[in-house]
């Protein structure tokens, strides 16, 4: 008995159906397998990110602790010794000295005063007392006022006073970043004018540092932060990772702009 047209029709239909079924099963198996793999990779990635954040956090905290220790040593020990030295120096009766010794005595006093001032400055810089007592905005204002004092630099701040501290540790990181960036501008950019401004909206804080000197571009920042000399930039990057924020360097005809975006929702329970 020969094969009829209907037989062939069934053969083709059943054949295609079976093949399609097999193909679909394979595809589904692959999809499930890949999803499972992806889920596992995501959990591993999350774990890796957590570990990285913990390491960065530990590094930042130990840096901060070390800063405090140095600031306290400078203030309590070096400062005290210098003050004592000043007292001793003032104890010398200068009127019985000859003119040359009087000049030397005067110069010594001036230098000692200068050293005491410098030590106090460094100690305050390293310590975050103002930050803790008066908040981020006041600490930045104080810092900017201090660095612009006695220079031709025109420095202004336009900080959003709606911002209230949610997490003091985050504020220290933000403050240190501003400090590092402004110090970099002073050291390398030859700027005559700069503005530090901030906007607080919802749970987000946007800081902008604008200056009219020779600043960094995004490409330069990316390049420098991996170099040994770029330790400050590496620290900035670490703090950005820690705060889950972002930093962008842009330039325009008027000058350079650094935009820092930080989510400021409290980390505390």
């Amino acid at each position: 008995m020969g094969t009829t047209g209907t037989d062939i029709r069934y053969l083709v239909i059943i054949g295609i159906a079976v093949m399609l079924l097999l193909f679909t099963s394979f595809l589904l198996a692959l999809i499930f397998n890949q999803r499972k793999k992806l889920k596992y990779q995501q959990s591993m990635e999350k774990l890796r990110e957590q570990q990285q954040n913990q390491l960065i956090e530990a590094a930042v905290r130990s840096e901060e602790t070390e800063r405090h220790r140095i600031a306290e040593t400078l203030h309590d020990e070096v400062g005290a010794i210098l003050s004592s030295a000043k007292l001793h120096l003032l104890g010398i009766k200068s009127d019985i000295l000859d003119e040359r010794d009087q000049q030397l005595h005067e110069k010594g006093r001036e230098l000692l005063n200068e050293v005491i001032q410098k030590v106090r400055g460094i100690s305050h810089n390293l310590h975050s007392n103002i930050l803790k007592e008066f908040g981020l905005n006041e600490a930045i204002r104080h810092f900017i006022r201090k660095i612009a004092q006695g220079t031709v630099l025109h420095a202004t701040t336009a900080l959003d006073d709606n911002y209230k501290t949610e997490n003091p540790d985050n504020d220290i990181s933000i403050y240190r970043m501003v400090q590092e960036l402004v110090n970099n501008i002073l050291k390398y950019a030859n700027a005559t004018e700069f503005i530090v401004s901030s906007t607080h909206r919802g749970n987000e804080l946007d800081m902008v540092i604008f200056h009219n000197g020779d600043g960094l571009t995004q490409e330069q920042f990316e390049e420098l932060r991996y170099q040994k000399e770029g330790l400050g930039l590496k620290n900035i990057q670490n703090r950005i990772i820690l705060l889950k924020g972002s930093i962008h360097f842009t330039s325009g005809s008027e000058g350079y702009r650094i935009n820092i975006h930080i989510p400021v929702k409290s980390n505390q329970p």
Binding site: G15, I16, N33
Partner: protein, 232 residues
């Protein structure tokens, strides 16, 4: 109606025009995709010639005729051969298989079969159902190996998002459907011509889907610009 007929008659040409446009406009970046690009170009030329011969049969020279009809079967046979060669080459090269020689041997067997078949058994001027069956088996085995390896793969690559997945899925879908259509091509045309016409429509739709998947894979491989900025 005339337009619908035109679209249907030229479907094998415009379907390949989709990946061809993607290649010309978006210029896929990866070197690895070269076999696919070559296939698209070769397939387009062959299908264009085959369709042109049928549509403009009155312009064709007498030697292209067999039994009173213009004969473009050699072009279809050649297309099938080109498909196995280029797409098989692509799928084999995209993955690091444990036994690559197995798949390469399969391709060599296919080549030996093609040469033997057309030298001793069949004329290249008839539509070779054996060739199509061999094409389906060869490409399906290669794709099967690809899917197995993707499942075993422990690397970070998400194969579902990789262009090769779309190509392998397209080839597999095309081959599982056309295998039985071409295996029973002559018996169906002799005994149930109306169903044969239906299978040809199914074949056309499958080919269009296959070309769309190729186009999507090529589009996924286009050059992408880098984002700037540092985020934590």
């Amino acid at each position: 109606m005339k337009l619908i007929n035109f679209i249907r008659d030229w479907s094998e040409v415009w379907a390949l025009l989709i990946p061809l446009i993607i290649i010309l406009v978006f210029k896929p970046a990866k070197k690895q995709l070269r076999p696919v690009i070559l296939y698209v170009f070769a397939g387009f030329i062959l299908n264009f010639l085959a369709t042109f011969m049928v549509e403009y049969y009155y312009l064709m020279p007498s030697w292209t005729y067999t039994d009173g009809y213009v004969n473009n079967n050699i072009l279809y046979n050649l297309h099938s051969f080109v498909r196995v060669l280029f797409l098989g080459w692509y799928i084999i090269s995209v993955r690091q298989y444990k036994f690559p020689f197995l798949l390469k041997t399969l391709l060599i067997f296919y080549l030996v079969f093609v040469i033997t078949n057309f030298t001793f058994y069949e004329s290249p001027f008839i539509l070779s159902t054996r060739l199509y069956a061999a094409e389906s088996i060869t490409l399906l085995v290669i794709c099967l190996f690809y899917f197995f390896r993707s499942m075993q793969d422990e690397s970070d690559i998400n194969w579902l998002k990789h262009p090769s997945f779309l190509i392998a899925a397209g080839i597999s879908l095309y081959e599982v459907i056309t295998f039985f259509i071409f295996l029973f091509f002559y018996p169906l045309h002799q005994k149930d011509i109306s169903f044969a016409a239906v299978t040809m429509r199914i074949y056309t739709i499958t080919f269009v889907v296959f070309c769309i998947l190729l186009a999507l894979a090529l589009y996924k491989s286009r050059k992408k610009s880098n984002l700037s900025g540092v985020t934590g």
